[in-house]
């Protein structure tokens, strides 16, 4: 693929896309799944009480099936589920006579059928040419509609900015296995990440994708043939979770680069992830340790954070509602979410291309499985110019070996580092800063209201004179700039460029871009007054800058809160 073309602007070298081991996936699929099943059986046999384990799995699966109704395209899977668990229930009535290993095998092979993806090189090649074509078509159509004079390539360049450590990532892909861990805001992320990986000239990645994505038949067809494996967060039983972890470990051990969202689902609040799911993340260290024990070449696993910044998020309304509902925990998976209907997705890209909106994708500094930075040779950088040998960190009592508690602790430290990196690799867009400044300026008017009372302000109360807002926005820009200078986050190039002109310029841009897809405009300006039509959405977009100590209450002398924590009045700090 020549540089430029119909692709977004890329400031890194496009290399010939190399064949990854994923291309040989289909040939080894059965052997690989059987290995994963065997490992999982091994993890349970002999250790814990198998009857109890199967009993618990049965209970939680039956509970899940009762609670969650399958979508139209998931009915076949549900039938298989019902058959299996009906069979298990019949069997465990007479526990004395069961062959426990055989039963465990059967359950795990059932999961294998669900989790295990496929990889079809022909579909991959098709997708590689179709996706850019699709993007170009959409752009072209959208541009024609808008009568943009400056041509397709030019305007596409302004849409998708891939910045950060791309060359380093490209080099590391040759030294070990990449585990790409993006922040997750929208279902669009899944398509976008696949495209970004392709643009970075990397071989195809295996993909941990939420089961709800597979409810769209077209997408399901592509995803399940492009190495995606299913992650169903509704399944909480130990057998499933262990199987999933072993699957991820196995593909990483086989050198297949992978992606999964370490925060679990999409960010409900709009803030950057502050809690990381340790289970799947821990498969990195497990795979690396096993490979080192086996003395495999390219044994190392590199964790690469990726932060995506959008001016608008398709499903923002339902996400923030879910976040705000105190009892929202049980609705962890939004099944009736508006975002994943094909019409909506098409509309997202249409609006993306027809407006002057852009998406910034930042590839963060790669880490090793302990949270150390790595150089382009894949060496872990310790403090004071030292190089960390992972074998030493994985040696216990003089022996290189797996130690589950030690590795869990390393993973916990890695997760904390990852959260820190997510915050630092965040790119602030004009719309984020406008939302934040406006929300905080309103809070100054009502400093004692708690979150829920604040969100119910009347239309009149949630307005500000434009001049007053402008002053406040300028001050927040200065505060953010201090953080940028300290390397604690990034400003988008657009914002930087517009801010050089005047505060009014970037503020106007931010207002125009902010959630421009939603039915109700998040911020409106008329007659020198600024107001919001949807406080929840404003809060959602404002939260993108929470966790940096910038909020109005940070200056009130209250206890400093970290990322993801609420202040005394219930606002994300």
């Amino acid at each position: 693929m020549p540089p430029g073309g119909s692709h977004p602007v890329i400031r890194f070298e496009r290399l010939p896309v190399t064949d990854g081991p994923l291309l040989r996936f289909e040939k080894n699929r059965n052997a690989m799944l059987s290995d994963v099943v065997e490992r999982t059986v091994h993890d349970f046999i002999g250790g814990s009480n198998i009857d109890l384990l199967i009993g618990e799995a049965l209970y939680s699966e039956r509970f899940r099936m009762k609670r969650v109704k399958p979508g139209f395209f998931m009915r076949n899977r549900r039938k298989l589920d019902e058959q299996l668990w009906g069979y298990v229930q019949g069997l465990i009535r007479n526990t004395g006579e069961i062959d426990r290993k055989a039963l465990l095998d059967r359950i795990l092979w059932h999961y294998a059928g669900e989790v295990g993806g496929h990889f079809n090189p022909r579909i991959y090649r098709f997708a590689c040419s179709a996706v850019p074509w699709g993007f170009s078509w959409l752009l072209n159509a959208a541009s024609v509609r808008r009568f943009l004079p400056w041509g397709m390539t030019q305007s596409l360049q302004s849409r998708l900015n891939i910045v950060g450590e791309v060359p380093l990532l490209q080099k590391l892909a040759g030294h070990g296995t990449i585990l790409l861990v993006p922040t997750h805001q929208s279902n669009i992320d899944s398509v976008l990440i696949g495209y970004v990986i392709y643009l970075m000239s990397l071989p195809p990645f295996a993909y941990g994708a939420g089961l709800n994505l597979f409810s769209n038949p077209a997408l399901s067809f592509f995803m399940s043939n492009l190495g995606a494996y299913t992650v169903d967060r509704q399944k909480t039983n130990a057998l499933y979770k262990q199987f999933l972890k072993n699957y991820s470990t196995k593909i990483l051990m086989d050198g297949i680069h992978s992606v999964f969202f370490p925060g679990g689902g999409r960010s409900r609040s709009g803030a950057i992830e502050s809690r990381i799911k340790l289970g799947l993340l821990g498969t990195g260290i497990e795979a690396q340790t096993e490979n080192l024990i086996k003395d495999k070449e390219k044994a190392r696993v590199f964790i690469v954070p990726m932060v995506t910044s959008y001016h608008f998020v398709l499903e923002a309304s339902s996400l923030i509602e879910d976040h705000l509902a105190e009892a929202g925990k049980h609705r962890y998976i939004i099944t009736d979410d508006e975002s994943w209907q094909p019409r909506k997705v098409l509309s997202f890209f249409w609006k993306l291309f027809s407006s002057q909106s852009s998406i910034t994708v930042r590839i963060g500094k790669p880490l090793d499985v302990f949270g150390n930075f790595v150089d382009e040779e894949g060496r872990s950088q310790g403090p004071n110019g030292t190089v960390v040998d992972p074998v030493h960190w994985l040696t216990t009592c003089g022996e290189l070996r797996k130690e589950s508690q030690r590795d869990q602790e390393y993973t916990r430290i890695l997760a904390a580092k990852l959260v820190q990196r997510f915050y630092r690799e965040n790119t602030v867009l004009s719309s984020h800063l406008v939302a934040f400044s406006f929300f905080e300026a309103l809070r100054k008017k009502y400093p004692d209201l708690d979150l829920y009372r604040f969100l119910r302000l009347s239309l009149e109360q949630r307005s500000l004179p434009y001049a007053e807002f402008l002053k406040s926005a300028g001050q927040y820009y200065d505060q953010v700039s201090v953080l940028v200078d300290r390397g604690e986050l990034y400003l988008s190039e657009d914002l930087r460029r517009l801010a050089k002109l005047s505060t009014d310029t970037w503020v106007q841009d931010g207002i125009r871009q902010l959630g421009c897809l939603h039915e109700a405009r998040v911020i409106r300006v008329a007659d020198g007054t600024l107001w919001t039509e949807d406080m929840n959405l404003l809060y959602y977009y404002r939260n993108r800058l929470s966790g940096y100590g910038l909020s109005f209450h940070a200056g009130r002398g209250w206890t400093r809160k970290g990322p993801g924590q609420n202040d005394e009045l219930g606002f994300l700090a």
Binding site: G382, P383, N384, T386, V388, H392, C397, G398, E409, Y410
Partner: protein
């Protein structure tokens, strides 16, 4: 190889040859192959090797033949030690760790015995060490351990805390003896803060004792002081229960009544009207509580954490109030519920 077999055949380095470092080296020598003790003073190192005693800090205390003292850090950490124990004042930790970094391989377990935090950053010593050393398996040893008493062979107990179980296993295997019991904790934040914060109360306790008050006032100080440091510790991420254990209440009871504690002596002499600068000169070691009081006072003010006793100790150290005035201020505060 089992855990204790491994450590029995290991070499261990102790960084810091003060009284606690010396006692720790001796405790370690019972459970490992060789102990290398690092001190900045080469004369003292030579004297220790020649006489097998540390006459400057613990006169007459006999050291094991397995201990060798050095003043060159490279001879102590030449690649084959499996654990490093730092017994340094908090102000020296970062600097010495930086000097050690290039000499460590990464497999070493690191323990520290410092009861203080970094002055400006408020970072705990384990955080400082993980920022400076290419090692991640770090633990802390802290508890009611007055070095002189342990040197006399009196029974005592301590806590080893770390996020890594294997560091706790190592801590128990390395430091434990028939007279020294090791308890384990996974709350490293709590143990580090408990050891740090109790020094503030040790100063207060010394001052109170100088006034020749009885047990009622000491009990009031310890109980209300505990409430105060728990409040602070929890705000820093510690678990409340840790403060009720050896590293919290245990250490407070030991230091709040013992003239062996340097912090206690600081409080006592301040109450008698001596100037802080003179006291520091005479101490013969670091009183961590002085710096801790300033740092914690500043932070608690900024974050709105109520710490009236710390405030009084701070004012006393700044020589703004006398002990009598400080007590009067504390006693006339508006009453509240416990």
């Amino acid at each position: 190889m089992t855990n204790s077999d491994f450590w029995r055949n290991s070499k261990v380095a102790v960084i810091g040859g003060g009284s606690w470092g010396t006692v720790l080296a001796n405790l370690l020598s019972e459970n490992c192959l060789e102990v290398r003790l690092w001190l900045r003073d080469s004369e003292l190192a030579r004297a220790i090797n020649a006489t097998k005693t540390n006459e400057r800090y613990l006169p007459g205390y006999r050291l094991s033949h397995k201990i060798s003292a050095y003043s060159e850090i490279s001879r102590v950490l030449d690649g084959d030690v499996n654990a490093v124990v730092l017994a340094l004042p908090s102000s020296a930790c970062r600097h010495e760790a930086r000097n050690m970094a290039a000499l460590l391989g990464g497999h070493e377990f690191i323990f520290h015995a410092t009861k203080g935090v970094e002055a400006d950053t408020l970072k705990r010593m384990s955080e400082v060490l993980s920022e400076e050393l290419p090692c991640r398996r770090i633990g802390v040893i802290s508890g009611p351990n007055l070095a002189q008493e342990i040197a006399r062979g009196e029974p005592a107990a301590t806590v080893v805390a770390s996020g890594f179980d294997e560091v706790l296993d190592a801590g128990q295997a390395l430091f434990g003896s028939a007279l020294f019991r090791i308890y384990r904790s996974c709350d490293m934040i709590g143990v580090e803060w408990a050891g740090t914060l109790k020094n503030i109360l040790a100063i207060a306790s010394g001052a109170l004792d100088a006034m020749k008050f009885g047990w009622n006032s000491r009990a009031m100080l310890i109980t209300r002081g505990l409430a105060e440091i728990v409040r602070f510790g929890v705000a820093m991420g510690a678990k409340e229960g840790t403060f009720l254990g050896l590293a919290g209440l245990g250490d407070m009871l030991a230091t709040c009544g013992s003239p062996l504690s340097r912090n206690y002596r600081v409080g006592m002499r301040m109450a008698k009207g001596d100037r802080l600068s003179d006291i520091i000169k005479d101490l013969g070691g670091t009183a961590e509580g002085i710096m801790t009081t300033r740092t914690v006072w500043r932070y608690s003010k900024a974050r709105g954490i109520s710490m009236p006793i710390t405030e009084s100790v701070f004012q006393l150290l700044e020589e703004n109030v006398s002990v009598k005035e400080a007590i009067q201020i504390l006693m006339t505060r508006p009453s509240g519920s416990e």
